[in-house]
């Protein structure tokens, strides 16, 4: 018997704010997190950096030296999520709380710096702290230690789809009875290493303007950093401790494009498959979907995502409101899906959905409900979409919780 899975809290650390409500409010007014980055000297690249991130603000006067930036972002997001869900240290200690953390790199900066130090001063002088943080699951380990999360613990890597995949895996852990409470989401840090490499791939927008999700031309995306963790819980467990259910995870699905996004039609098919599997798992029909949070980021996957979503939603595709936060937030890779989810929680609570920045309606665009402007929307069922540049597609359906205002 599969148990129902609800969301009882969220923690966010992002360039647009450190709560689901703040993130939603920023997106509603179209605030753009992207600014010229100084990480790659002499370049005009824009990125969504979290200015003056200070873990002490959230975690008090403690020693953060053993954690790198990725570990600090994740640890802070976990604190905020646990606080939001009303789970203090004693409550966590009394349970085996799990953790599923999405990421693309862990921290590529840390492993690269560890390596460079070895080259420059020799293998005897490399930093042990850096080695511990160079494994891709380091941030999950640090977060678990800091908050005493002793339940099932996993890192998930699926590129920009990681956050959605993490939420799906955590939901399954709870639904199957393997855990009662699991923090799930993702983290990604902005670094010289990631920024210069994506720039070299020719994927980033280079003209200083904000990315345009679902734009007429895929002019490129902008990288960003952040972390978001949602507290997933069995519905019974949440009810027993009188925690409010902000949302319910009612279904999810995933698929892969074996052309690794080289063929738009093939990628679109994977998007369609993921969404249809999610709807099937949830026992819902396309016309029940009230809103879509799209993965579109201004780059190559946008067109495939639009076509894939349209094929999955059929006749309903012309009407469903669409939001695409990466136009304002940037592409936070491993954290993206979780930030999208947190933004959806904010949207559900407020009953309104941010639009798609700079979107100009056009007759041939498959998602008829896309608008530049925001709208009042009854978000009783929302589709969260994650699409990775490398071919992974994950879709997750969130129903507004009874604990949230409608």
């Amino acid at each position: 018997m599969r148990r129902r899975v609800v969301v009882t809290g969220a923690g966010v650390v992002s360039p647009l704010g450190d709560s689901a409500a703040a993130l939603h409010a920023a997106l509603m007014v179209g605030r753009c997190a992207l600014a010229p980055s100084d990480l790659v000297a002499g370049s005009a690249l824009h990125a969504g950096a979290i200015a003056a991130f200070d873990p002490q603000r959230y975690l008090g006067d403690a020693n953060f030296r053993p954690l790198d930036r990725t570990g600090q972002l994740a640890t802070v997001a976990a604190r905020l999520a646990l606080d939001d869900a009303g789970l203090d240290a004693a409550a966590v200690g009394a349970r085996e709380v799990g953790l599923v953390l999405g990421t693309t790199y862990g921290s590529v900066r840390t492993i690269a710096e560890f390596d460079r130090r070895g080259i420059e001063v020799g293998p005897l002088y490399v930093k042990p702290f850096d080695f511990a943080n160079s494994v891709i699951n380091a941030a999950a380990g640090q977060t678990a230690i800091w908050h005493q999360l002793r339940g099932p613990s996993s890192t998930v890597a699926c590129g920009a789809a990681s956050g959605v995949a993490a939420l799906a895996l955590a939901a399954d852990m709870i639904a199957s009875g393997r855990a009662d409470v699991v923090l799930a989401g993702g983290v990604e840090e902005l670094s010289f290493e990631s920024l210069v490499s994506f720039a070299r791939m020719g994927l980033l927008r280079g003209d200083g303007r904000a990315p345009e999700p679902f734009g007429r031309e895929p002019a490129g995306f902008a990288l960003a950093e952040g972390a978001a963790l949602l507290v997933l819980e069995s519905a019974d467990h949440a009810a027993a401790r009188r925690a409010r259910a902000l949302a319910e995870v009612v279904g999810h699905g995933s698929a892969f494009d074996p052309t690794q996004a080289a063929d738009t039609t093939s990628l679109a098919q994977a998007v369609t498959d993921a969404v249809q599997l999610a709807l099937g798992a949830a026992g819902r029909t396309p016309d029940e979907v009230r809103a879509i949070s799209a993965a579109a980021n201004g780059g190559r996957i946008d067109d495939a995502e639009a076509r894939g979503l349209a094929a999955a939603l059929g006749a309903h595709a012309v009407a469903v409101p669409v939001t695409a936060p990466k136009g304002m937030l940037g592409e936070a890779l491993g954290a993206a899906g979780a930030l999208q989810a947190a933004a959806l929680l904010g949207a559900m609570a407020a009953g309104e959905l941010p639009g798609v920045p700079a979107f100009a309606a056009r007759a041939d665009f498959a998602l008829g409900g896309a608008r530049a402007g925001s709208a009042r929307v009854d978000l009783r069922l929302a589709l969260l979409d994650g699409v990775a540049l490398e071919g992974t597609c994950c879709a997750l359906l969130l129903a507004r919780g009874e604990g949230a205002p409608s």
């Binding site: 085996e96 590529v108 690269a112 080695f131 891709i136 230690i145 908050h147 002793r150 698929a255 892969f256």
Partner: protein, 403 residues
């Protein structure tokens, strides 16, 4: 929920490529540990590694150009093709949307980081290319396996370091059991690198002379590389097509120490909970377990704490359960380790033999369980438990049983 069987095994390992070579080598006590060849170790005090010698990706990468694929991915592709062949499954006959890939790793493709850094230090930012974005991300590993084989089903990388392979098998088992997929390729891969070697050397973790798990004079682990992939499908499907079933994936347990980044919990708490959870999941008692494939890295601390954890989980029964460490022969193949060790468990169940812990000479009162010293043993294995413990305190135990 459907019962899930392992019907194919593919390996690229320091003791050989292919299930048959691998198993025969382990039963014979063959070691893949030797002085490191792929980079200069003159600045290190330690010299040993478990590298995969003479691996040629060309026969395995038929759709993808091998030079466009990182080493860990190449080995993963090879192991995947071997596993499917071993299962008697033609890749072209698989239903693409019903076939998925779940892999684990510790570092992904660390050679790409080395390449980036070498270029950066030599020529500055102008000298670096796109490969840290295009090739390095670790989810490329399962992605490229699926790209090579044309698979459209669930695709995930679970980079849980030294326990990653077990996580991948657990994920794949759930995918098949729940009906999300009909066939899953599950395993792990990691490539040998200067970065990884430097790190473990700096921690003082690398053995000075040989890998001797549970031996009182043991001096540490030996970094290695490789890939292991299992084919998982439902028992019904396997029977329907007359496939050989090595074992059933009966259950698994996951836990986190939440204690220390590189050292285990001092009382074996997390590992014990993972074992107990696996037993509960499989509906088995400790007395039902015939064999344990240990994490058994060979470091003084791991082997002692692992022994403690097994005693905690198994109670008095612990001293009757043979527990060997193939890391004594394979070294520590990182993300591939628990996948290769899962293969060992399946083979033990199917073959009625268990591999030894080699290099065992001096009994250690703190590691006083039956480590199957030096010689393989014939044994009816009705249930085999695969234990793996990772940096960051993530623990995973998977139980394999006879059909």
């Amino acid at each position: 929920m459907r019962r899930v069987a392992v019907t194919g095994i593919g390996v690229v390992s320091p003791v050989g490529t292919g299930r048959k070579r691998f198993w025969e080598a382990l039963l014979a006590g063959t070691s893949g540990i030797a002085p490191v060849q792929s980079f200069d170790t003159s600045r290190f005090k330690v010299k040993l590694g478990a590298e995969v010698r003479d691996f040629d990706p060309a026969p395995w990468c038929r759709r993808l150009a091998p030079e466009g694929v990182g080493r860990a991915s190449q080995m993963a592709i090879a192991a995947a093709r071997l596993a499917l062949a071993d299962a008697g499954l033609d890749p072209g006959a698989l239903e693409p949307r019903r076939t998925g890939v779940a892999m684990g790793t510790t570092s992904g493709e660390p050679l790409e980081v080395e390449r980036f850094d070498d270029a950066l230090l030599a020529g500055g930012a102008a000298a670096v290319d796109d490969r840290l974005a295009a090739r390095y991300p670790c989810h490329r590993i399962p992605g490229q396996v699926a790209a090579e084989l044309g698979l459209r089903g669930p695709n995930v990388m679970l980079p849980n370091a030294c326990a990653a392979g077990n996580y991948a098998v657990a994920y794949a088992r759930d995918a098949v059991a729940s009906g999300r997929a009909d066939v899953m390729l599950a395993g792990g891969a990691d490539a040998f690198s200067r970065i990884t070697y430097t790190g473990f050397a700096r921690l003082g973790a690398i053995a000075s002379d040989r890998c001797a798990p549970f031996d009182r004079e043991r001096t540490g682990m030996v970094p290695g590389e490789g890939a292991g992939v299992l084919v998982l499908e439902s028992v019904e499907s396997a029977r329907a097509r007359g496939a050989r079933i090595y074992a059933v994936v009966a259950g698994y347990g996951l836990s986190c120490d939440a204690h220390h980044m590189t050292a285990s919990h001092p009382e074996g708490d997390g590992p014990a909970r993972a074992m107990q959870q696996a037993l509960r999941d499989a509906g088995l008692a400790p007395a039902d377990v015939s064999y344990i494939s240990a994490h058994g890295t060979g470091t003084p601390t791991n082997d002692r704490l692992e022994t403690l954890a097994v005693k905690r989980a198994f109670g008095a029964v612990a001293e009757r359960v043979p527990m060997s460490s193939v890391k004594s022969m394979l070294g520590h193949t990182m993300g591939a380790a628990s996948a290769l060790e899962a293969a060992v468990c399946c083979l033990a169940v199917a073959d009625g033999r268990v591999p030894p812990t080699v290099n065992y000479e001096h009994p250690d009162p703190e590691c006083d369980l039956d480590c199957v010293p030096n010689r393989a043993r014939a044994l009816e294995v009705r249930a085999a438990m695969n234990n793996a413990y990772a940096f960051g305190g993530a623990n995973a135990s998977v139980l394999f049983t006879s059909e």
